[in-house]
Subunit: 292 residues, 2 copies
């Protein structure tokens, strides 16, 4: 929509980035972009079992978007929609949380154990993109170019069919741009029934970004013997999308593949653009001196 | 060392992978390999603040290794060593946990809130590598080829200088193979003092791996109109390591760069091998029919 304003998540004791503050960001657009650029995000939450002190962390497919305001830009408040490939435990906990909210709609506080609450299941969603390995004169100053985002909020199962269908399209297209309308849609009743989508109402977040080359300490830079011996620089790193591998005709005796003549543009061009764009970002990050 | 045995993490309610069990792994070698292949891992833990129900998740550099048995293979029990670039909060919590252990050495139980305990700070460490986007006839059967590992255990600050120095070398070489001895080492007293290393005693873990091509449902495969229209296949994805970018001579008016003539083998060959090996894995994953 574009209100000409830049929104930030509020700084609180929970999300404050304590170290290297020059790298910290609370900017919604930057944080949402990192999440939507990551194919997989990590979702962490606590189980109700008090004898288990370890958060559970699951890799999931997620997208930042708004069903209430679908034309929202990445710089505006958004929910995170998660698709539950691997998370039957998470889905069950969120279902229970939703039930607790119905049973006891006035309880807005948490139970302190990190388990489900009337607002939903508290979850933390993290995404990190590695952009380069930074090699300096001594191990302690070695670093990584990266973009990292964390948001936290309350997860609930999406129950409205309309919102679920919309979210499935957002999730699909967040993995492969414009894929949804090029597939057999809409999902049939059984598919809608068996698909679980979580909506996370985000209450806060933060990000960190490291760019640039080596930053050595003066004590090493002053010593020619070290600079003569130790190579410094950056190995750029990016996620490469290869040429699409088609699945055609008879596979292991069964008719399994597609019968489309050529790899369509929405697949081939997407892979090519991602490949180029990701390499371009990694190289630009090396050359970026804004944090020097 | 190689005992000719295959070790697994025990299946418990905490780590059991409930869905798609054909993809689950409890094999130590596979889980440790995924962690050591990931440049960055995600570390999740709870804060002692009972009013904060959200796990904190931080991206960190980590390596699976054993100081007590340094010649251990990846298939043997290992600790996870974490380097604290971005984790002053985590380091402080672990320091407190270590103090609690000293003050009250007989308390081995957790406090139930997921905060620090006499055993250390409970943490969950996750790593996920994306190997491909799997495009099928209908959105619900779309999938991702990936390798994912989660381990959980108790984190403590490494206090012995000998173990810390050893761990710093393991961490450095886990990011860039064989880098340590090609830099200015050992760290001086101030560097040893300012560097924090966490050792996580692992108590359990699990992994998941998805390989192969599209797996469509019969109801769609039977319909020629769908197979005529919808392209199916895999976009292979891998972490690409680019040509090293050297940092030489005078940078912005200051003598900053190295004075080494050529990019040394331990950097150039490492980047080349990683690039080739990662692409090779992604393509092999597409062709792998073991989960069909």
């Amino acid at each position: 929509m574009g209100h000409g304003r830049t929104l930030e998540y509020p700084k609180t004791p929970v999300n404050r980035v304590n170290r290297y503050n020059q790298r910290a960001t609370y900017d919604l657009e930057q944080i949402h972009t990192i999440i939507n650029t990551s194919t997989v995000v990590h979702v962490s939450f606590n189980t109700p079992d008090a004898s288990n002190p370890f958060p559970v962390t699951l890799p999931m497919v997620g997208v930042a978007a708004s069903f209430e305001h679908p034309s929202s830009s990445l710089g505006e408040p958004l929910d995170i929609y998660l698709h539950g490939y691997v998370s039957s435990r998470l889905m069950n906990l969120s279902r229970n949380a939703g039930q607790a909210a119905q049973d006891n709609p006035t309880t807005a506080s948490t139970d302190g154990s990190g388990g489900e609450t009337a607002q939903g299941l508290p979850v933390t969603i993290s995404a990190t993109l590695v952009d380069g390995l930074v090699l300096t004169l001594t191990p302690n100053t070695h670093d990584v170019n990266y973009r990292s985002a964390t948001v936290f909020g309350y997860a609930n199962l999406v129950t409205s069919l309309e919102e679920k269908l919309w979210a499935m399209e957002q999730v699909t297209n967040s993995v492969v741009r414009d894929r949804w309308r090029h597939t057999r849609v809409p999902p049939d009743g059984a598919e809608m029934q068996s698909t679980s989508i979580l909506r996370v109402k985000v209450v806060g977040g933060s990000g960190k970004v490291r760019v640039g080359g080596p930053r050595d300490e003066l004590k090493d830079l002053k010593r020619d013997d070290i600079r003569d011996k130790v190579w410094t620089g950056v190995i750029p790193v990016w996620e490469c999308f290869g040429e699409p591998v088609e699945y055609k005709g008879v596979v292991q005796g069964d008719e399994k593949g597609n019968r489309v003549d050529n790899v369509p543009d929405h697949v081939r061009e997407f892979a090519r653009e991602m490949r180029e764009q990701n390499e371009k970002y990694a190289l630009a990050a090396v050359a970026d001196t804004s944090q020097d």
